[in-house]
Symmetry: C2
Subunit: 292 residues, 2 copies
């Protein structure tokens, strides 16, 4: 069971986002939490706090978009609650299950295992930067970035296949690669080493964002799956999945000073400040790390 | 699965209510929804939207109080979510189950069945009137009224016993007796007749509130169980329960004009305006019904 809340003007701006996108994203971020455990989502509850001056058609668009996404994963919106409030607050609760006792957890990462991710990193943060004002000339690129931030497709089937192929340690990337990898390291009592030049970044992001490495490392909200397993398991996973699977580093023995060591293009250790999402929000897209 | 949202300055006023009371009530109203189905509650999720300037100790008091109530029913607070927001928004989701396929529903009320309630009616609305300014001299009465409004005890065990004893139609009184009885009537395709002089009203409310009948009929938030069954079943229920069980009327065949007919002390039909909670909130404690 997972729950998540989106608050107007904290998590979204109604001037920048459509209700249709909002309905999709509100459910998608919860689906991603079930995906991160290799679970099968079943039932969703939607609690809406709404100001009185809204257009009913907007709420219909919101719910339709949510149900459209729900249908893709056989999820049923079984109920919820509606209340009046000064601003929009969207709370979703999503229920799911695992077919077996096994499930993906943050624990269990072992030194020597490879660290892998599905899909691309940094696209969502690049989309957010665009929504906040960065100009992107190309229409197709602009659509790609907007969708990456507002209509992510949760990795439900991929999570189940990871589990079937023997992966046991995973998380979804919501706070950012480094922050979420730290969560795995803390839960597993290990450290990790990742290489910046191995991060999978989409060509659109590489082309338009000189700081694409920072976006990939700290951006967050990609809702890709980050997982660890031995080389053989990862080979099996790669054969079973259509999406890109990229090895970006390896699990190491516990180093107390720094959970996640980031190695740059020239083999040097990058210094960076602690934190994922919060950090990113505060620092925007500038000065995320400095070279020694 | 049930979910409910409380919004600051819509559902509660932090100047009138303690955090300890708020934590209790937020869980209690959800427990009551499970009680109304004869269910056994199991897991709770708490999503909190909080403004930044709050005292952490208040939040600890809030959660402790919630857990204290949860423990009384073996409910475990398994998780949730915390976000920043301009005002406090409390969203709870509660999960429960029924031991058998049978459960209490709003459907199935049959003409001729008796309509009964647990406990007393109108106490919560009286408590709200007091919190809004009505002076109550007696300390014990004042404590009773405050507790009735802010720390209701959900009828979890009572709901299960109703189910065991063969009751199939029930609802919890959150919107108000008349409004919630209308819900049963609509779902069951029947009408109902209730007698004002049979409504169970606590002596404290009778003594201090001349409009106690209106409070009992329309007040809401008593979180008592309203149910219908044949006379024999209600006798068995009464023998099985420690709390008062009062027969207040009977189910009749469907009358389209008015779902719920209210009979006054002298046998006359009372006219009243439609609506429970909303009505009450708008009209406060004045002019709820007029005699023909």
């Amino acid at each position: 069971v997972t729950t998540d809340t989106l608050v107007q003007d904290v998590h979204f701006d109604l001037k920048a986002v459509t209700w249709e996108e909002l309905g999709w994203k509100a459910l998608a971020v919860n689906l991603s939490d079930i995906a991160a455990m290799g679970g099968i989502p079943t039932y969703a509850l939607l609690s809406l706090a709404l100001p009185p001056q809204l257009d009913v058609d907007d709420i219909i668009r919101f719910v339709r978009s949510m149900i459209y996404l729900a249908n893709q994963f056989d999820v049923i919106l079984i109920g919820g609650n509606t209340v009046a409030a000064p601003q929009v607050v969207i709370n979703m609760t999503l229920i799911g299950y695992c077919k077996t006792n096994a499930m993906l957890r943050r624990t269990g990462a072992l030194p020597g295992e490879q660290i892998s991710v599905t899909g691309y990193l940094g696209s969502s943060a690049a989309g957010l930067a665009m929504l906040k004002g960065k100009f992107i000339r190309d229409r197709e690129a602009s659509n790609f970035l907007r969708q990456a931030h507002l209509k992510p497709t949760p990795r439900i089937r991929e999570g189940q296949i990871l589990l079937q192929q023997g992966v046991r340690t995973a998380i979804d990337i919501s706070d950012g690669l480094v922050a979420d990898l730290e969560h795995i390291c803390e839960a597993s009592g290990v450290s990790a080493k990742i290489r910046v030049d191995q991060l999978p970044v989409h060509p659109v992001v590489k082309t338009n964002f000189p700081d694409f490495q920072q976006l990939a490392l700290f951006g967050g909200e990609d809702y890709e799956l980050l997982f660890t397993a031995d080389q053989e398991t990862i080979s099996r996973v790669r054969q079973s999945l259509a999406c890109p699977i990229t090895v970006i580093g390896e699990v190491t023995r516990e180093i107390s000073a720094q959970r996640v060591m980031v190695i740059d293009d020239r083999g040097n250790i990058l210094r960076y400040e602690k934190g994922g999402w919060n950090h990113f929000r505060n620092a925007a897209t500038t000065g995320k790390f400095t070279q020694p």
